[in-house]
Amino acid sequence: MSEETITLEVTRYRPGHDREPRAQTFSVPYRKDWVVLDALNHIKDRTDGTLSYRWSCRMGVCGSCGMMVNGVPKLTCAAFLRDYHPGPIRVEPLANFPVVRDLVISLDDFMEKLRRVKPWIIREVEKPVAEGEYLQTPAQLDLYKQFSMCINCMLCYAACPVYGLDPVFIGPAAIALGYRYNLDSRDEGYRIRQPILTEAVGVWDCTFVGECSVVCPKGVDPAAAIQRSKVAGAKEWFMSMLLPWGGR
């Protein structure tokens, strides 16, 4: 008996040759314990070594293997073939990003945005190392823990129609990470970070479609982070209008 197979329709794009991406069909063995990434590795090893895509950890931690699977942003290391049986399975590069080659997208814009929100602990005066760590209670950790689970896989950007239509939007993951540091009891950078989050291309560009939180593989809920930043920003604006000392 011949082995059962499943069809993958994989987007191919060769820079300098192709004007736009096109789909190429591959047949791979259907194994219940295989994920889409296994199928792509099989194609690269056995059928076409020129197929390009990113991956690393294969366990949902590194955030490199994000692609569109049947039109939905997914970590391909966590997208089982059995959930798409009998196929065919459409595998495309993450939506809304420039395509470099095949399934590889450009990270440049996301990296710039991530840096812009300063996702690190800012202190007014750094404590000398000899004085030890900045301590935190479990309750203080709980405040931001959910938002610190982001693995920068960018699935949320691929799910965000606002980012697709207008890429100046800072976007879900970067705002969620900025918000995460704003909530951190060890951080003193709120006054530096909050104006960046609440500028026009920040939280106010978001129309709350909410799909970023649906596709997030880590349960970060970036949509909640954005809306809560909006509330904080609006509250501060009101206070600055009402109080002579600007609510500071």
Binding site: D18, A95, P98, V99, S106, V168, T207, V209, G210, R228
Partner: protein, 137 residues
């Protein structure tokens, strides 16, 4: 500082979402419906303002206006507007629960409870309005 992402790298393919992007996923369609609901609610509010204005024009003018609202077209509009208003309100209260974190001491009140409190308040206010309406009618 706003940085506009580059869209001119040679060899890169820059995708553009089609005008029908909102048909791609059920959640996008629901989002667009929520946005569209504002149109019906706005029309209803304008109608309400006109109705109040008619009230100031005397009983005859008001009665004629109310009679016009009894046409099948306007009834159909009100049914659709009510459906949109309900859809908007229900999704709004559900989202409020996610956005508004309520804390009791160190513990966060479950979002479902926050939503339930919103719905309860909505129900009570609606009942009070209904009570006055029945009292007046």
């Amino acid at each position: 500082m706003t940085t506009v992402p580059r869209r001119d790298r040679p060899g890169f393919y820059y995708p553009k979402p089609p005008a029908t992007w909102w048909l791609r996923r059920p959640n996008y369609v629901l989002f667009m419906l929520r946005e569209l609901s504002s149109v019906f609610i706005a029309i209803f509010l304008v109608l309400l303002l006109v109705q109040i204005h008619q009230l100031s024009q005397g009983p005859a003018a008001y009665a004629a206006f109310v009679e016009r609202l009894r046409s099948p077209g306007w009834i159909a509009f009100h049914v659709v507007a009510l459906a949109f208003a309900l859809y908007h309100s229900i999704t709004w209260f559900n989202l409020t629960a996610v956005v508004q974190v309520v804390r009791l001491g160190e513990r966060q009140v479950p979002p479902r409870l926050v939503a339930a409190a919103n719905f309860l308040l909505w129900g009570v206010v609606s009942l009070v309005i209904l009570f006055f309406f029945l009292l007046g009618g």
